[in-house]
């Protein structure tokens, strides 16, 4: 086939090579694709292909599945909710009679933090660990999702009709409750009781103070608790009352107590505190003179004190076996010298002992001053004898219907087992408990109550002092406020909110004269959270003499009991056990034993030596503790300060139906208590035996070394006498030799030093004010999303706390070698030292990080950049204060930690996280940031408002939680700030190294000149001579 060589033309133009044709030959299509902005010049086929390629790539990339994160904007934005702007609501925490007026911080509608309400005349802005942590309980998935009938979920209509019908036909109905301090709730209960044939309300308290109310009835004619005023007392004597930690109203008492303990050159005086107790309590740890006594001696000790004072007063003494108790005579002498400005309290629940205490305070003319019965407190209304009677009736099957109003007596009453047995005999049993706890799981109907942060309520904790709680979030579950439930069952048509308002309208509003507009009154009260009515003081006078009580005491107590005694006590973190399912509280390091996740038998060092028990790094043995017929296996913890011949065991543990966090943690000590003498008694003085077994056990302690090894560069302390002579008493002031003279370490440095031209943030921590309660540690945990790691990881010494309270015991006086220094004295002096990042100006951590992940801010903060951290841990090693924490594992979204680290693993628990603080990834270091998110927030607010920051406007979480204001935060460049004044920084300087003129202020480890921005104030003890 020949090749075709013919040429075909498209037209004559091509043949003729017409210039017009040649010009347009390339442009076959006159219309161009509208790419490149219609600019025909730059539009090429290549551009088209580029765009097409890009579109294809973009489309295929977009098709790849990306994680879907829903951020749905409000269609109609609620008036008060601005994303990222927190709202604060005044409210009230109450559990039984435990009370605190609070401010709830909410973010995007979620409560995330609780602070004390500074307007409250009771807790005055103070707060405790339990109250801080209660916000997590709101998001507890173990709370019931709806009403339950015989263990299966039901609906409200069914339960309402069934309960109403059955209760009406049940016969005698009893309502069992813990102390109710809400006047409106009391009215609701009255209405409910009336609807069911005058049902009786039985009130008991897990940690009963019936002894005091009963004694008040004997002494003064009315069953009540007095208001205590520790701030007015120059001498404080406490027989086993842990008033700073767990007794009645500890936040309030701590606030009062510390007023007498704060000391300065201008006011070089402080109260003197005697403590006589069996277990080393937080209060005992703060006492100037602490005497360990046995529970069997406690009544006689009170008698002896009475007699010593009666002798002084010329009153009749009473009979009582003589008992040798150190410091008792001295206490008597000083009490007498401080007549009218002293206080004597006892933690005993024995009404007879409390009658003598009343008599003592009468003798000392403290009645109406420091112990004020004219202004009764309503925080404990439990009646142990009535409760006993109820248990007997229940057991006998004489009760037709029983309603448990938010109480768990099966677990936390001495005769819990009998109640458990009796519930089945009642025709109808109902509980309003919000979890399927030990009691609720035994009843037929559970009508779960809201969490307190979802509820309306009012409170009347003390005569003249009202407060309100308001919902900070819509109910998370299908629960219903118990008061509403009672109103429905009583056949009322009103809801509780209206009922509450109505009640305030007719009572409190009617009693005041400030305003005539109820709405205004209500709004203001709700805004403030508290309302006070001046009340008329009604002084009480004694109506009985002490003789009969004294003879009863003399009979039931012994001067020297040979058998081992058990003194049950309450721990600050777990309290009576109601909040045991809260992992923050479980992992809170006990202020005294430093143990987490357990209760244990505390024994004296002497006992441990005699029985060949040695505790090493938490490793111990289990003991078989037998009390009467009951015996339980419990680990032993050697506790310096434990009275010889006694052992202690904490209540609140050993729950088995609290939820996955608390179940199986520790042992239940309530079972060992008795209420046979007509009052709940947590002291067992006969029939206790302890047998050490060969079972090894590990108690997870965050601190295993007890003493400070006599290291003055850590703890500096003096006695009051020494301080009065020399304000520098107890100060360790290292000097370093340089060029012919001894100079302060801060004068020698390799570094040029920082200059802080704007702010210079710092902390001043008064070790005299710090009582060691640990509220700051939980506040920090909540604020900064600090992980909970669980018992095993605490055992591995990996707890994540950003702030810890170091607790040091003194060594025996004659300790000479290192080995002896390691051992605590048998009855040691105790020092608490809050320890967090010291924000060093010459920070050893900053120099060693290879990637500069930890750096210094222009305001004196040592900053941690999580994103940059590669986790070499060099900074943690080089930190002389050991405050840096490493994320050994991924603690969030990890099923291994889901059971304990609820706030970072469970979809509901995560609602508590502070959105302003990153949840840290595995493999990075974290530490105290001095709440930098709050500092930045405060600065932004001030900037927006075009003004300078006011002192006190920004506060760190630990300082704001501290009930004793032991921690003060502020700007050391601000000459008017509280911290500047406390430290007496005279010079107006922007230098990082501030000249501090306060004699008591010191830096921990001053001689290595890391130049911290945290100052400590020496601990001053009001005793004649130091014993360490």
């Amino acid at each position: 086939m020949t090749e075709n060589k013919k040429t075909y033309w498209k037209g004559l133009e091509q043949l003729t090579n017409d210039p017009e044709f040649v010009k347009n030959a390339e442009r076959e299509f006159p219309e161009y694709l509208p790419i490149n902005g219609g600019n025909e010049e730059g539009s090429t086929r290549r551009d088209f292909l580029k765009l097409m390629g890009f579109s294809l790539a973009a489309a295929s990339l977009a098709a790849c599945e990306a994680p879907i994160r829903k951020a749905i904007p409000y269609v109609n934005k609620p008036v008060d909710i601005n994303p990222s702007i927190p709202n604060y609501y005044a409210s009230t925490f109450s559990s039984g009679g435990d009370y605190a007026s609070i401010v709830v911080k909410t973010r995007e509608g979620r409560p995330i933090k609780i602070d004390g309400n500074e307007l409250s005349p009771i807790n005055k802005g103070g707060i405790s660990a339990i109250v801080e942590a209660s916000v997590l309980s709101l998001y507890d998935k173990q709370r019931l999702a709806g009403p339950h009938i015989n263990g299966t979920i039901s609906d409200w209509a069914t339960i309402d009709s069934e309960v109403k019908a059955k209760l009406a036909a049940a016969g005698p109905v009893k309502i069992v409750t813990n102390t109710v301090i809400s006047p409106s709730t009391e009215k609701v209960l009255e209405q409910f009781a009336a609807a069911f044939g005058g049902a009786e309300v039985i009130t008991y308290d897990p940690i009963s103070n019936y002894g005091i109310t009963k004694a008040a009835e004997t002494s003064y004619g009315t069953a009540m608790l007095p208001t205590y005023n520790f701030e007015k007392a120059g001498v404080i004597v406490s027989f086993g009352a842990d008033f700073l930690g767990t007794w009645i109203s500890p936040i309030e008492f701590a606030k009062q107590y510390v007023q007498g303990r704060k000391i300065s050159k201008e006011k070089p005086e402080m109260s003197r505190h005697f403590q006589f107790e069996s277990n080393l309590s937080l209060t005992g740890a703060n006492a100037d003179y602490r005497t360990p006594i046995k529970p069997s001696q406690s009544g006689l000790a009170v008698l002896a004190l009475y007699n010593a004072l009666a002798k002084q007063a010329g009153a009749a003494t009473v009979q009582g076996a003589a008992v040798e108790i150190a410091n008792l005579d001295r206490a008597a002498k000083e009490l007498w010298a401080n007549k009218g400005k002293s206080i004597v309290v006892s933690g005993s629940n024995d009404p007879n002992v409390q009658v003598i205490i009343n008599a003592i305070n009468d003798l000392l003319e403290n009645n109406g001053v420091t112990v004020d019965f004219s202004k009764p407190s309503y925080s404990r209304k439990g009646d142990d004898s009535k409760m006993n009677q109820f248990v007997a009736e229940l057991k006998a099957g004489r009760i037709g219907g029983v309603v448990f109003y938010n109480c768990n007596p099966v677990y936390d009453f001495a005769k819990g087992a009998e109640i458990a047995e009796g519930i089945a005999k009642a025709k109808v049993s109902v509980a309003t408990n919000s979890t399927m706890d030990e009691t609720a799981s035994l009843v037929q109907y559970v009508a779960p109550d809201h969490h307190y942060l979802e509820s309306w309520n009012d409170f009347y904790p003390r005569k003249g002092e009202y407060s309100l709680s308001q919902p900070a979030i819509s109910p998370l579950f299908n629960s219903r406020q118990a008061q509403d439930t009672f109103l429905v069952w009583a056949g009322a048509t009103t809801n509780y909110y209206d009922f509450l308002q109505q009640n305030w309208n007719t009572t409190i509003f009617a009693a005041q004269t400030e305003t005539s507009n109820f709405q205004e009154f209500w709004d203001r009260s709700l805004f403030n959270g508290v309302y006070s009515i001046p009340s008329v003081s009604a002084p009480v006078t004694s109506i009985s003499d002490v003789a009969s009580a004294a003879s009863a005491v003399a009979k039931s107590y012994k001067p020297d009991n040979a058998s081992t005694e058990l003194a049950m006590y309450v721990k600050i973190g777990i309290g009576n056990g109601t909040f045991a399912n809260n992992p923050w509280l479980q992992e809170m390091s006990d202020p005294i034993s430093k143990a987490t996740w357990d209760n244990y038998l505390t024994v004296s060092q002497k006992w441990a030596n005699e029985n060949g028990l040695r505790m090493n790094e938490g490793e111990t043995k289990k003991a078989k503790l037998t009390v009467g017929a009951k015996s339980i296996m419990v680990p032993i913890l050697v506790q310096p300060g434990q009275a010889d011949g006694t052992v202690g065991l904490a209540l609140g543990y050993g729950r088995n139906k609290a939820g996955r966090v608390a179940d199986g943690v520790g042992v239940n000590a309530y079972e060992l208590a008795d209420s046979d003498k007509g009052f709940t008694n947590f002291d067992v003085i006969e029939g206790v035996s302890i047998e050490i077994t060969s079972d090894s056990y590990k108690i997870a302690q965050t601190q295993t070394h007890q003493t400070y090894m006599g290291r003055e560069f850590v703890i500096q302390e003096a006695t009051l006498g020494e301080y009065k002579e020399d304000a520098f008493a107890g100060r360790y002031q290292p000097k370093i030799y340089k060029e012919g003279e001894f100079v302060k370490p801060s004068k020698i440095s390799l570094w040029k030093g920082h200059q802080y031209s704007q702010h210079h943030w710092g902390l001043a921590i008064d070790m005299n004010s710090c009582i060691g309660c640990g509220a700051c540690t939980i506040a920090c945990q909540v604020e900064n999303n600090v992980s909970v790691v669980g018992k095993q990881e605490v055992l591995n010494r990996r707890e994540m706390a950003w702030i810890r309270i170091d607790r040091y015991y003194s060594s025996p006086v004659e300790a000479t070698s290192n080995k002896e220094l390691e051992i605590a004295a048998d009855n040691p002096e105790v020092t608490f030292q809050p320890m967090m990042c010291q924000h060093c100006n010459n920070a050893p951590c900053e120099t060693v990080c290879p990637v500069a992940a930890t750096t210094h801010s222009s305001e004196g903060l040592n900053q941690m950049t999580y994103n940059r951290c590669i986790g070499t841990r060099y900074c943690a090693n080089n930190c002389p204060y050991k405050v840096r924490r490493f994320n050994w594992f991924k603690y969030h979204d990890n099923k291994d930690f889901a059971a304990v680290n609820v706030a970072q693993n469970d979809d509901m628990g995560k609602m508590v996280l502070n959105p302003d603080v990153t949840v840290r990834a595995r493999g990075v270091i974290e530490k105290c940031s001095m709440c930098v998110q709050r500092i930045q927030g405060g600065k932004l607010t001030a900037k927006r408002e075009g003004r300078k920051i006011k002192d006190g406007e920004i506060n760190v979480a630990c300082a704001s939680a501290c009930p004793t204001t032991a921690i003060v935060f502020g700007d050391m460049n601000d000459t008017n700030s509280k911290i500047t004044q406390l430290l007496k920084i005279k010079e107006d300087t922007i230098s990082a190294v501030k000249e501090v003129n306060e004699e008591r202020a010191y830096h921990v480890l001053e001689e290595i000149n890391v130049s911290p921005n945290v100052w400590y104030f020496t601990k001053i003890r009001n005793k004649d001579k130091s014993e360490a």
């Binding site: 790094e617 295993t704 070394h705 290879p850 986790g871 060099y874 090693n877 002389p880 490493f886």
Partner: protein
């Protein structure tokens, strides 16, 4: 040709000719793997695989798999790191420093010692990476690379960063030095080989032609690299010691560390060389090349460095006492009598007392005794690093934070992994590379006319 007086002991015994040398050494490379080698190699690979389980667990779950805690942030990881780096010292010291000092006896051992150095440095370099919380980032964030993070740069104040430079420089120079030395020997093997083996060794030998000019360049490069490597022998462990010396922790913060660490490194490096060489000479029948004389000389170095280390220990104590710093004094008392007393006394026994046995000629010329003592020294040196790191950290300033360190199975496993890696590499080297520098050793073989008759 090497000239020695007849008074001197010959460095190579057995009347080897140049051909014998080539044959004796190439034989290992050319022959089929022996059963012994195969078993040893498989055992090493087994250990490597076993250890890699622990390594994988650590990388997957996090550093929490180890026994570290809030107080003791480094323990076995950095102990192993410093230990391996220390072992890695002998190679360069033998090849570079002894080359400059014209110590001809080094020729029999430098190849293996350098190989050991390289493998030890590989093992060591693993730890700074895997001990990180986030190695996938840290592996390159610790390098001063230009980045898009803004002005983010590494922190030149940090001794850990200095480590990065020190170790990588040392590794690079050692590797080049070692490889340059291998080139003529690869060429020898190439010349004897056929087939695929010939191409492989041909490629490895970089076209070595054995010309006089090539030899001259080879000698110059060796000398220059020796000059470069010599300061590195001192600098690497000096810088490693800065990790501790520049800190504020009692027991770490001491200026004696640089010389003390260097001496310790040479000490442990020589011990490891001995351990390996005693086995190698036996397995590969190289008794004529690595003689008792070599062993004795190395033992003398061990006595010297062991004594330096001993003096350093005592000096530390003196300084702690003399300083009057309570925390420092406590740190040292705690080493001796605290909960880790056994680690301290193991270190003292192994490092200070046992090498003194080499003062006895009988012991230092005994193969068995040398082998055992070389193991003891390496155990002692591991404890030295453990004592410095763990006993200083576990009780520092604030008694509230004092804690104990207990190793976990993963700690042990990761250490095993490095052993597996080290021996796997070493056995591969021993089989496929000439273990003695043939080219160099030929220069000290006495000519056949002066055959040693005794």
């Amino acid at each position: 040709m090497h000239v020695t007086t007849s008074v001197r002991e010959p460095l190579i015994t057995g009347g080897k000719t140049l051909k014998d040398v080539t044959h004796d050494i190439s034989r290992q490379v050319e022959a089929r793997p022996s059963l012994g080698w195969l078993l040893a190699f498989l055992f090493s690979v087994g250990v490597l695989l076993l250890g890699s389980i622990a390594l994988a667990a650590t990388l997957w779950e996090g550093i929490g798999m180890w026994g570290l805690n809030k107080t003791v942030g480094w323990a076995w990881d950095i102990t192993n790191f410093v230990w391996w780096v220390g072992i890695g010292h002998a190679g360069t010291l033998i090849s570079a420093v002894l080359l400059l000092f014209r110590q001809k006896w080094r020729m029999a051992i430098n190849r293996a010692a350098e190989a050991m150095t390289i493998f030890a440095v590989i093992c060591a370099a693993m730890f700074p990476v895997i001990h990180m919380g986030r190695p996938w980032l840290g592996a390159y964030w610790a390098l001063p690379l230009p980045n898009t993070f803004g002005s983010l740069w590494v922190n030149f104040n940090s001794p850990l960063l200095w480590d990065v430079f020190a170790i990588s420089t040392y590794f690079a120079v050692s590797l080049v030095f070692w490889y340059i030395g291998l080139i003529p020997d690869f060429a020898t093997i190439r010349d004897r080989a056929t087939g695929i083996r010939r191409s492989i060794y041909g490629a490895l030998s970089f076209g070595w032609d054995g010309a006089a000019k090539t030899w001259s360049r080879y000698e110059s490069v060796a000398l220059i690299l020796a000059g470069l490597a010599t300061p590195l022998v001192l600098s690497v462990h000096t810088i490693v010691s800065f990790d501790f010396a520049t800190s504020v922790i009692p027991g770490w913060h001491t200026t004696i560390f640089p010389p003390y660490f260097v001496a310790g490194a040479i000490f442990s490096g020589f011990a490891m060389v001995l351990t390996l060489m005693i086995v190698t000479r036996k397995v590969f029948q190289l008794e004529d090349y690595i003689t008792i004389g070599h062993i004795e000389l190395m033992n003398i170095v061990i006595i010297i460095t062991g004594s330096i280390v001993g003096i350093a220990y005592i000096t530390e104590f003196f300084m702690a006492w003399y300083s009057g710093v309570a925390a420092e004094q406590y740190a040292f008392m705690n080493r001796m009598f605290g909960p880790y007393w056994w680690a301290y006394w193991s270190m003292m026994t192994c490092n200070v007392i046992s090498p003194q046995l080499f003062w006895f000629k009988k012991i230092r010329t005994s193969i068995v005794a040398t082998f055992l003592l070389s193991l003891v020294v390496n155990i002692g040196m591991w404890f030295e690093r453990f004592v410095i790191i763990v006993t200083s950290l576990h009780r520092d300033y604030l008694p509230s934070s004092w804690a104990m360190f207990y190793p976990t199975i993963s700690d042990v496993g990761v250490y095993l992994f490095t052993f597996g890696l080290f021996f796997t590499l070493f056995f591969l080297f021993a089989k496929f590379f000439p273990v003695i520098n043939m080219a160099e050793i030929k220069s000290i073989v006495k000519s056949s006319s002066e055959k040693v008759t005794k």
